[in-house]
Symmetry: C2
Subunit: 307 residues, 2 copies
């Protein structure tokens, strides 16, 4: 199955304890699509500016990603600058220039209309909803959001949640949406708003999959995965989006969505997130091979399984 993803393509400047990188190719849709491309065909809907060059296009092309839905607009590409010098687990935003993203009106190309998997990366929920409505053929819809939309755009976000099968967010966002500090209770409250599954990402501590009911399962069950332990975290940017790409990409590649498929998808999500943070920006994803992914998947199984 193919995946259509809508979200940001951006240039990031980041500072981390490992160094500084200027204007590297980034954005949620970029990390997501590169990660998912190891599992299935991915199609991107985004907007970029005149500074988006053939070098950036080549990154997507090298992974066979369909970028016919990346619109070019007059002006500059979305730019973000952040620092992890104080806290490697949470970026301090130093600058955000929406640029061409300010007027983004996502359009779904006709060629994308048969995508059965849809991922709504973290953008304005009004746009997420519009893309959801323009892709009625999508059979499995997942999405992300962030504190800003939860805090100041909750009505629009609640509309998006109604149309989601799977929501992928972090601990804080889960607690914020639910207004409840107990994660298990908060997860149930979030699923009551629409999504039948919730993936809560715990950063360096892994992720938890909550669900109301899985095909084939008699009762609601939970699945937990720790994070792959890394000796060197160079740049945490994009870990969550890469997790989502590995998770959703693996699901889209499978003939059947069984409880076991979702469990393996959680592992592939963790694996893809762990690769991304090893180098700046998308460097590690660009250099990655499927063999390395499967090798780490097996290592990860070893370090989490009893037998």
């Amino acid at each position: 199955m193919t995946i259509t993803v809508v979200g940001s393509v951006a240039f990031d400047t980041v500072e981390t304890p490992s160094g500084r990188r200027e204007r590297c190719l980034a954005g949620a849709a970029t990390y997501f699509s590169l990660a998912a491309s190891f599992f299935t065909q991915v199609r991107v809907i985004a907007v970029v500016g005149e500074d988006f060059s053939p070098a950036e296009e080549a990154v997507f092309n090298a992974r066979g990603i369909d970028i016919r839905g990346i619109e070019r607009a007059a002006g500059k590409t979305f730019f973000w600058q952040g620092s992890y010098l104080e806290n490697l687990n949470e970026a301090k935003t130093l600058q955000t220039d929406l640029n061409v993203f300010a007027g983004f009106e996502p359009k779904v190309p006709d060629a994308y209309r048969d995508s059965e998997f849809l991922f709504l990366a973290n953008i304005d929920p009004v746009l997420q909803r519009r893309v959801r409505e323009a892709t009625p053929q999508a059979k499995l819809v997942a999405g992300d959001t962030m504190n800003y939309w939860i805090k100041d755009h909750k009505p629009a976000l609640l509309e998006v949640l109604k149309g989601l099968d799977i929501l992928l967010i972090n601990d804080t966002e889960t607690r914020m949406i639910a207004g409840n500090n107990n994660l298990v209770q908060a997860a149930r409250a979030v699923m009551d708003l629409g999504p039948r599954m919730l993936v809560v990402k715990h950063g360096e501590y892994g992720a938890t999959l909550f669900h109301k009911a899985l095909p084939g399962a008699k009762e609601s069950r939970t699945f937990k995965t720790p994070a792959f332990p890394l000796e060197q975290v160079t740049d945490p940017t994009g870990a969550g989006d890469s997790f989502a790409g590995g998770f959703f990409g693996y699901l889209a590649s499978q003939p059947e969505l069984t409880p076991g498929t979702f469990r393996r998808a959680m592992f592939y999500g963790s694996v893809m997130g762990s690769f991304t943070v090893e180098r700046f920006g998308t460097d590690r994803l660009q250099a990655l091979t499927r063999e390395e992914i499967d090798h780490r998947f097996n290592l990860f199984r070893e370090l989490t399984h009893l037998d």
Copy 2:
């Protein structure tokens, strides 16, 4: 194999979002020994005051715990008061009265001298070292410590680390001892100070076992376990000590210490910690059965294993 544990037996007054409990039986050695008692024979070395009554003795006796090493001194038992109202993950200490603990001089009863497993719970490293030296027969020695000793008593603590096989501490303590924020690097630095294994407890996010080399394993390996997801955390006090009790108690109950034994011990540790926090103080451990433990162990396997 029997375990000897030295540490605090205390009365705690705690406030949590679930309510308030006055002067409940607590202390690291109490939680540890109750948790470990489901797996093996446990012997306690501690000091209590005149307010330690037959009711408290009965809690240990009901679990078959040997308390001949609990000395009675003139005065009051160690008292701690804390609040989790602001943060369920970290207690705010409101009062600490060392009482009889201030003059504690641990003595190892002759009847304990054949214990092959020794656990040095979180107390003054000078006392930990003294007990270690008085138990030369101990074949596997594990211990805990806390930020206070790391910060202000490091030379004494370093002496203790040299004599430990396994150190069990949390993320912050690991980073503090090593002076390194990357947990994998910090873990290696801590093991360079003595212990050949390090269990890092991540609170609500589980725990990681690091080790230099395991009997039967060809290379150093890591094992990660998430925490059991709980809908209701009533009182987090004692979770780490109960983890240690489940972990070390299970190890002591096994005929052989293989890599698989350590992995299962990590699971039993998580399971025991998860029970403890369900009710105030030691209430849940007092009411627990081995059947409940094994049932949760199996549930925990299901929610972390791919197949």
